[in-house]
């Protein structure tokens, strides 16, 4: 990790970016040769793991260059034009090549490239032109420096620079900086930008290009951790697979996240259910559920009423209507003789009761899962505290027991495993909430129970006083290994279940 980050600190995008560099020209895109892999792929992957690699900014730059070179050699166009084309096709080689062979001129036109593509003939120059007046600033003094693309929409150098600076710095545009000429769609390419823009603007432009390269490529994703500059490459997962895989990746910075949706590690729950669950938790719909479970509406004025005593003879405070809490019928129909409602066969009463019962059951079910989910989330939020305390404990252990730093690392490891397991457990509850009840689900719940028990035991060990803890090293290590094992079993089984389509959901998965 530290090695890698040193590399990037030294790396300067602006100075090293060079289109004339041919060293990558020959290498095929997708070939890993020559790229430094920060995290070596493990040889044998578990069912819940996906192959991925971490790319540094330099790696991304190289990939970009080699892709440009490759396409340029196939199409016989200049690198600048190919860059514009690739940006237009969002770095999708296949689509570009297919459409280009069908209609080269049309595609060039659409992408904003002059059909007359010859970098030798095309000479971008900043020069004065006789009798020129800039259409932007209306300046016409002699000797005014001007610039124009192939379209010959000529403007003065200052206005052009101003325009491009605004596009890049203020609007963050890199893909589609068009000629400022009226309804001219010609794109100012890399060469033009380099010629006109100031150095800092040009460097910003290159950074933006890098960004679009990652954003447009479905096999690349920036690590979402704050200030992390790595991108993850994951080839085996496409959007349509996300119903059956939870592609969890780990960045060189240590952050674990889902490649599919970019959210923090949510194994074993699939992305679509994660989204549903988060939305459900955020929605006020559950408050509404509580209201419908605990209150009724006055059948006359619809004011919401919560029953606060045992008597079923209700009188609405708002409209003074008298009704029976049990059957929601008018109290007058009950007569004066009996106080217990016996009108169970009455249709509206039955319906009302059904609705109430259903609503209550669904609420209780939700709360069951939510409480457990929230509990683990809460514990996960305390992880930072826990970790700090662990560190403190470790220093204490070192001084009281005379153990070396290496020897107390088992606590740090136990803490990390604990955090990870809580994260997993949290999402098992969201997942279980959407599962149909069947034998498979019982198996899942058994695994969940085992993991939870193990986690709680380890957690308990962890909070033991420091003197005892020193003597418990073996127990802690064993427990850590066991907990980790339980987590892997659960993930392995869920992942296989996803792959084999063993899980049935209560909601529709689109």
């Amino acid at each position: 990790m530290s090695d890698a980050s040193d590399d990037f600190d030294d790396y300067d995008q602006g100075s090293e970016f060079d289109f004339e560099d041919e060293s990558f020209g020959g290498s095929d895109y997708g070939d890993n040769e020559g790229f430094e892999e920060v995290k070596p792929e493990s040889t044998k992957l578990k069912a819940y793991e996906v192959a991925h690699q971490v790319l540094s900014t330099a790696d991304i730059q190289q990939r970009q260059d080699s892709q440009i070179s490759q396409v340029a050699s196939i199409l016989g166009l200049s690198r600048e034009s190919v860059t514009v084309l690739l940006l237009y096709f969002k770095w999708n080689n296949d689509r570009l090549l297919e459409q280009y062979t069908e209609d080269p001129e049309g595609i060039l036109n659409k992408a904003g490239i002059s059909a007359d593509d010859d970098s030798k003939k095309r000479e971008y120059k900043i020069k004065p032109v006789d009798g020129f007046m800039c259409d932007i600033c209306c300046e016409d003094r002699p000797g005014l420096m001007t610039f124009a693309l192939e379209c010959d929409h000529r403007f003065c150098y200052d206005c052009y620079k101003q325009y491009i600076t605004q596009k890049i710095m203020d609007e963050g545009e890199s893909r589609n900086i068009q000629c400022p000429g009226d309804s001219c769609s010609l794109v100012v390419n890399n060469e033009g930008i380099r010629l006109i823009a100031e150095d800092r603007v040009y460097r910003r432009y290159l950074t933006l290009l890098n960004r679009t390269f990652v954003q447009d490529n479905e096999h690349l994703r920036w690590c979402p951790a704050p200030n992390c500059e790595y991108a993850i490459k994951c080839d085996d997962v496409s959007t349509k697979d996300l119903k059956t895989v939870v592609p969890t990746v780990q960045c060189a910075c240590g952050y674990r996240f889902c490649f599919g949706c970019g959210l923090a590690d949510h194994q074993p729950c699939i992305c679509v259910l994660v989204k549903k669950w988060i939305k459900k938790c955020e929605d006020d719909s559950e408050t509404a559920n509580w209201i419908s479970a605990n209150t009724k509406e006055c059948p006359k004025c619809m004011a919401t009423i919560e029953k606060n005593g045992g008597c079923n003879h209700m009188t609405c405070r708002k409209c003074k209507y008298e009704f029976c809490w049990i059957c929601i019928g008018s109290w007058a129909e009950h007569g004066t003789s009996w106080y217990n409602c016996s009108r169970y066969d009455e249709k509206s009463g039955v319906e009302a009761r059904d609705n109430q019962a259903k609503s209550r059951a669904s609420l209780e079910r939700y709360l069951h899962y939510y409480n457990r989910y929230a509990n683990h989330e809460q514990s996960a939020k305390l992880d930072k505290d826990l970790y700090l305390r662990t560190e403190k404990k470790m220093t204490q252990l070192q001084s009281t027991s005379g153990m070396s730093w290496i020897e107390v690392q088992y606590l740090a490891q136990a803490s990390a495993v604990l955090q990870q397991c809580r994260q997993t457990l949290k999402w098992t509850y969201a997942f279980a909430f959407y599962l149909e009840q069947n034998n498979q689900t019982h198996l899942f719940e058994d695994n969940q129970k085992d993991l939870e028990m193990a986690v709680e035991q380890l957690s308990e060990l962890f909070e033991k006083p420091i003197q005892e803890l020193a003597g418990l090293k073996v127990t802690v290590m064993d427990k850590t290994a066991y907990v980790n094992n339980r987590r892997q079993i659960l993930l392995e089984d869920t992942a296989k279940g996803l792959r084999d389509g063993r899980w049935w959901y209560q909601v529709e998965i689109k």
Binding site: I136, C138, Y163, Q166, D170, D182
Partner: protein, 172 residues
Amino acid sequence: MYKSQNSRTNTAVRRLMTEYKQLINEAPDGISAGPIDEDNFFEWECLIQGPEDTPFEGGVFPATLTFPKDYPLSPPTMKFTCDMFHPNVYKDGTVCISILHAPGDDPNMYESASERWSPIQSVEKILISVMSMLAEPNDESGANIDACKVWRNDRAEYNRIVKANVRKTLGL
């Protein structure tokens, strides 16, 4: 910094002067525009004729154009100074039209960059665009929700309100 700001302002004034001259010499049909007071070239007053075959036909609508100091890099803002009932005109008269949006700032995200402001656009083009906006409101980027609703659901009522405004603005 001061100097560059100053030259920016000079650019804007020079450009506005040129546009003013063109508008006086070759005023397009149905448009009149110029600075309210030449001491301040950044505030313009303009008149637009209602396009034919629309409820706006026969009307003349006043508006102000306020130019930023970095015009023509940034677009001016336009505000009608009469009663204007139109889906793309805010209730305070401010016009919401793609050509008046800088390409980077697009609250609605559905205008393609080519329709938006660029330094090569001009007062004349803005006013012509606004004229065609009067004829064909853009349902998607509504500025006046009431007008949107009426325009969509009750065209007769929309026409009635617009025609009433035409008369009101001309003092009838």
